[in-house]
Symmetry: C2
Subunit: 208 residues, 2 copies
DNA sequence: CGCCGATATGTCAAGATAGACATGTTTATA
DNA sequence: TATAAACATGTCTATCTTGACATATCGGCG
């Protein structure tokens, strides 16, 4: 039996509003991809299993075989139990930070370019988030919707996204500038280390 | 042929200093786990394959069958190529943020507790990072080591960790307080949504 | 001398995930 | 009326990752 994070998330999302697999896939692609990427080959089998387990049921079959799922009472109870009784896995996987540990292998010029790429890419992401925030606020003003639970939670997530990107850009900019400022020292240290390497290569005395 | 992130990272780490699989596993557990978790069942086979590909070679066999690996010239070239020519995968997977989208299913009291847990856990992580920073600085003062390339890169990573945790704690605290302040509205909205749910359950009109 | 904890290397099975392949329908537009 | 784009659901394989199992060595302490 699958008890994965994704399954619980699907349950919780459908609890907010009955939805089809395709709708969920779109939701993941458009707004959840930055928190938890998931695509249709994972979503459809998970939904089938949740239905089998009686946590979801099909409430409508629309055009193009579209199946709209809704949670059952057991389904709601199960997400609540998951949220209450299990601690979130707080591991993060950040390839950029991992790469940082190998960055000394590049010339200072290339290391600076690495940070430039980071800054540009995260700036774009930030712009997207800020756009979404602006759209949300406009909608709230126009439709005068009271901050319902779901929308409020989504706005907290969006706010985290914005804070994260701003902090990241600030850090990357500062790091970039520090490398650019100490470019000479960087390249000297690099040559030294790479040289040592070559030495230990031909001889058999590897220790630094 | 494996060309995974982990393989390139192993290459880069060994380029900094020849190391055994066990040493790498320890390094991942102690300092890299927060950027890229990896354990020995992944590390040993990856090393074997890298050796086979001529990117690593065994330079020493110590007690307890310990094999110390060093990079070959091809190995160095390969990490450099990886760093230069491939963009890092910037996807993040954050279970806490995902859970946020389901948080409205809990009572305000429980939602506040959720954030309290986050704050506590990240505060501990922050303390750990700050401790490491202090230790690093002490060592630099005592041994007077010039900021070599590798240590400098590691310190950038540590700085990111500290910034990240501070920002996260600030956001979580603010979110917690906002929920606590609007507890009544939260619980009302929740009851409404869960009630709607029950209605759509017995009848067959699911749309909100 | 015996035992424990740390060192050290491996394998295997199960589950999660990504990317490619496969198929059919509906709607809007040229 | 052709056709493209979006809708909609699925499968399959390969790879990544985790946790459990398995084994053996070395150093220190009682």
């Amino acid at each position: 039996m699958r008890t994965s994070v994704l399954s619980r998330a699907l349950l919780g999302l459908i609890a907010a509003e009955p939805m089809s697999g395709y709708g969920l896939a779109r939701l993941f692609e458009r707004t959840l991809a930055r928190a938890w990427p998931a695509r249709h080959p994972q979503i459809y089998p998970a939904l089938a299993e949740l239905e089998e387990q009686g946590l979801l049921r099909v409430i409508e079959t629309g055009p193009r075989r579209r199946k709209t799922y809704a949670v059952t009472a057991n389904g709601v109870a199960e997400v609540q139990r998951w949220l209450r009784d299990t601690a979130p896995d707080r591991t993060v996987r950040n390839e950029t930070i991992l790469r940082l540990f190998m960055l000394w292998l590049l010339e200072s010029r290339e290391a600076v370019a690495f940070f430039d790429g980071e800054i540009e890419s995260h700036r774009q992401r930030l712009v997207g988030f800020e756009q979404t925030l602006a759209d949300d606020e406009r909608q709230r003003r126009e439709h005068g919707t009271a901050q319902g639970g779901i929308a409020f939670c989504a706005s907290l997530a969006l706010e985290w996204g914005i804070r994260y990107e701003r902090e990241y850009i600030e850090w990357a900019t500062q790091s970039r500038d520090r490398i650019a400022a100490g470019a000479k020292a960087w390249d000297v240290a690099r040559e030294q280390r790479l040289g040592q390497h070559k030495a230990s290569h031909s001889s058999n005395a590897p220790t630094c």
